[in-house]
């Protein structure tokens, strides 16, 4: 066995490289900077491009241009940068531009604490766009997930032509960890689908039986239009309300109806337990320790770890929770994703533990909540 010793940010960069990322642009910000540093080591020597933008708006703008030129592109930032990305994220959603966006969350609001962790952007990633259409958000638990979920993120961005977020956290991003990279089973690599020959190309035309338009790059043999305006299949402005409605509904449905095909999760089910603990991200690691301690002390708890947060994997959550009387949710904010759990499981008693003080949730806190259900 041979182990590497990487921080989450480095693992994201390596995962991106393996997934075929050829373009990265970012603006330095703690705790995301080491993604930029690593991409700068990885991309230019192998013919890729890594840019330091003049600001966050530019960084994601460079990526959107590169993506439309056919390159797999990624950017990385933290809460203050996601705020500046917002308008470009809306553009990528509405105009179906594949991009991977890493949000290494730090304690907010605003500039907050640069070197303290939090999961405070969980709803912001989902809802921080104009129009409220869905995005995909994947949440890593550890360095291995940083690598693997980044590969999945690229695959999903290619498959669904949409922004895919990695909801990291300073506590994963800047914590170094041993990892056996060789043993990780990689997914097959997805590429955007080119249209079948023979039909005139329309940039937003959706083929029969598909939910996503075929892709040709700007700069190829066939002129391609991209636009942030409300558009029809030809990429020109439309005012036809049926056409507009169909498109908006498709943008929602293409992700929501497919989430079962990318609902990443882990589960630790104890048959005798009547309580299901639900966590995501770094809090999962305290939760595992808490469950282990409780088991030693004779209390059985089951644990569901969500790695796909948005669109909400509703079927998965309902299925996994159906045999439990109590549900406990813990997250590093004052109550964000728990609202989704409450929405999906209205018949369950749901207990919540949230914390926002710049430090990890300790296993003891979770044990207390579970012991008191």
């Amino acid at each position: 066995m041979a182990l590497s010793f990487l921080e989450g940010n480095e693992a994201i960069a390596w995962g991106a490289k393996e997934a075929g990322c050829r373009f990265f642009a970012g603006y330095p910000i703690t705790p995301a900077t080491t993604i930029f540093n690593t991409m700068l080591n990885l991309l230019p020597p192998s013919g890729g491009i890594c840019l330091q933008g003049e600001d966050e708006i530019a960084s994601i703008g460079y990526c959107l241009g590169a993506s439309m030129a056919g390159l797999k592109a990624m950017t990385a930032t933290s809460g203050p940068g996601i705020s500046l990305y917002s308008e470009q994220i809306s553009f990528a959603i509405g105009s179906e531009i594949p991009i991977v966006i890493v949000d290494v969350q730090r304690l907010g609001p605003s500039t907050g604490s640069a070197t303290r962790g939090a999961d405070g952007d969980i709803n912001f990633m989902r809802w921080g766009n104009s129009s409220g259409l869905p995005v995909i958000v994947l949440a890593p638990v550890d360095v291995k997930d940083c690598f693997l979920l980044t590969m999945h993120a690229f695959n999903l961005a290619e498959e669904f032509r949409c922004p895919v977020f990695i909801a990291s956290n300073k506590e994963i991003a800047m914590t170094r960890e041993s990892i056996d990279l060789k043993s990780i089973k990689r997914p097959d690599i997805n590429e955007r689908l080119a249209p079948l020959e023979g039909k005139p190309f329309l940039p937003f035309d959706v083929a029969d039986g598909r939910m996503v338009p075929d892709f040709l790059p700007i700069g190829g043999d066939v002129p391609v239009r991209q636009t942030s305006s409300t558009h029809g299949p030809d990429g020109y402005i439309t005012t036809n309300s049926n056409e507009i409605a169909d498109n908006q509904n498709r943008l929602k449905k293409k992700l929501v109806s497919a989430v079962n095909s990318f609902s990443f999760y882990e589960e630790y089910i104890n048959k005798n337990s009547d309580t299901l603990l639900i966590t995501y991200g770094i809090t999962t690691r305290a939760a595992r320790a808490a469950c282990e301690d409780l088991k030693q002390a004779g209390t059985s708890v089951s644990h569901l770890v969500l790695k796909t947060l948005w669109p909400v994997p509703e079927d998965l959550i309902r299925e996994k929770a159906k045999n439990f009387k109590h549900v406990v949710v813990a997250e590093m904010n004052l109550g964000q994703y728990v609202r989704e759990i409450e929405r999906i499981l209205p018949e369950k008693q749901i207990k919540f533990y949230g914390q926002m003080d710049g430090s990890l949730i300790y296993p003891d806190r979770i044990k207390e909540v579970i012991s008191n259900v």
């Binding site: 182990l3 230019p44 790059p217």
Partner: protein, 433 residues
């Protein structure tokens, strides 16, 4: 070779708008250059200049207000063979000012046509970054308070290698545009024009006035001699090719036998400059050399060489869950400010914990075992004490063995640092402990 203007979507502007002249001149420039639609991308943003991408049978990218240069750069770097032409109004210029400066400094081979008509035409004639102070605009008196911006001067100061100022009514406008497109680097034309829908409703401005105003200014005719230099993407390629490629992260073979396979926690409390993070990494690498999993979580302020520095380390043969310190096996107390950051933590300690304490560092009273170490007396400098502490642990067979430590140093350091660190580890005295 025929016109690239889109016959099914002919240019539509307010009657008398100078933008229409620019659209036809641009088409003529493409014709003169004999380039096809698939060799061009028109990049535009918001405002009347943002209609341009729809008029041409070329690749097109229409995006957010003021951000056109960012998309253009991404496209050009990905497809260096493309002719990238950006249209932007004086509005986009103002809101995207940072991107203009960056483009000037970068010198990527893009062409920016600033369709400068001195106001926001689309939203009601408000003042823009180029509105004259004396103009009557939709922003009341506000333009009287701000000086208009000279695009060419600003761009030249920012390093642009090609900047031209001209009237949109010039007869040879197509040639002017062609020259800018042919320039190998970032080129800009500040094209003065008339917005009949808004600006000339309340202000007198004729093509003659424009000629007069331009001739009153220092001429800007293109190449800015002092700023001519390598084009960005070519230069990027040259420098990138000289970088050494990195193919995989470093791996460490598990070749040694661990001292202990259970979860072990170590926390080093020190100050910036004491190489705390490096020592933490070495402890983890020592674990890896014996097949243990490891995590390292650091805590330090944003200042370099000032403030606390803390490293929290976990080793275990099992997968490591919680990365914080729950019940430490070892605390290395190397500086007072490090201890202060974790002072509440001592209260909960029990006999399991071993504290390595320096004489100059005070710790709160606690139940842990304390071992006093006088590195100063041993002549070990402040920046070597974290590593020296690992040597003590190794010599005591606590958490790591000496072999594991030496193996980690071989992974972490090259000569001459390797020999120096191995000597230091060797030199640390434990006889008195």
């Amino acid at each position: 070779m025929s016109s690239l203007l889109n016959k099914s979507r002919p240019p539509v502007f307010c009657p008398g708008c100078s933008h229409e002249r620019v659209a036809h001149a641009l088409d003529k420039a493409f014709l003169n250059m004999n380039i096809q639609g698939d060799q061009i991308v028109m990049v535009s943003d918001i405002g009347c200049s943002g209609l341009f991408d729809t008029f041409f049978n070329t690749h097109a990218f229409h995006g957010l207000h003021g951000r056109a240069l960012t998309y253009a750069a991404g496209l050009k770097l990905s497809r260096p063979e493309l002719n990238v032409v950006v249209t932007m109004g004086d509005g986009g210029l103002g809101i995207g000012g940072a991107h203009l400066l960056a483009a000037c400094r970068r010198n990527l081979n893009l062409t920016l046509l600033v369709l400068n008509n001195f106001n926001f035409g689309m939203t009601g004639g408000q003042c823009s970054a180029t509105t004259p102070t004396e103009a009557q605009v939709g922003s009341g008196f506000l333009n009287q308070l701000e000086r208009p911006l000279d695009v060419c001067e600003v761009a030249s100061a920012a390093g642009i290698a090609y900047a031209a100022r001209c009237s949109s009514y010039r007869k040879d406008l197509a040639q002017e545009i062609e020259k800018a497109i042919r320039f190998n680097g970032f080129s800009l034309i500040d094209m003065w024009g008339i917005c009949p829908g808004r600006f000339t409703k309340r202000n007198k401005l004729t093509p003659k006035d424009i000629d007069k105003s331009i001739s009153d200014l220092a001429p800007k005719k293109g190449v800015v001699s002092g700023n001519v230099r390598k084009e960005y993407s070519q230069h990027y390629k040259e420098l990138a090719e000289s970088r050494k490629s990195v193919n995989a992260p470093v791996t460490i073979e598990a070749s040694l036998i661990p001292l202990n396979t259970a979860r072990q926690e170590v926390i080093i409390l020190g100050s910036a400059g004491q190489r705390i993070v490096t020592a933490g990494e070495i402890l983890c690498l020592a674990g890896l050399s014996a097949g243990l999993n490891a995590t390292q979580k650091n805590d330090y302020p944003i200042t370099v060489l000032r403030g606390h520095s803390i490293s929290e380390l976990v080793l275990s043969s099992e997968e490591i869950g919680f990365t914080g310190i729950l019940n430490p096996d070892v605390i290395v107390a190397l500086s007072q400010e490090g201890v202060e950051r974790r002072k509440n933590f001592f209260d909960t300690l029990n006999e399991k914990t071993l504290i390595l304490q320096l004489p100059e560092v005070k710790i709160p009273s606690c139940k842990a075992k304390v071992m006093n170490i006088d590195f100063k007396a041993q002549g070990i400098k402040s920046q070597d004490r974290a590593l020296a502490s690992l040597s003590i642990l190794a010599k005591l067979n606590k958490v790591i063995s000496l072999e594991m430590l030496q193996s980690a140093l071989k992974v972490r350091f090259k000569e001459p640092a390797l020999s120096i660190s191995l000597d230091l580890v060797d030199q640390v005295e434990t006889d008195s402990l």
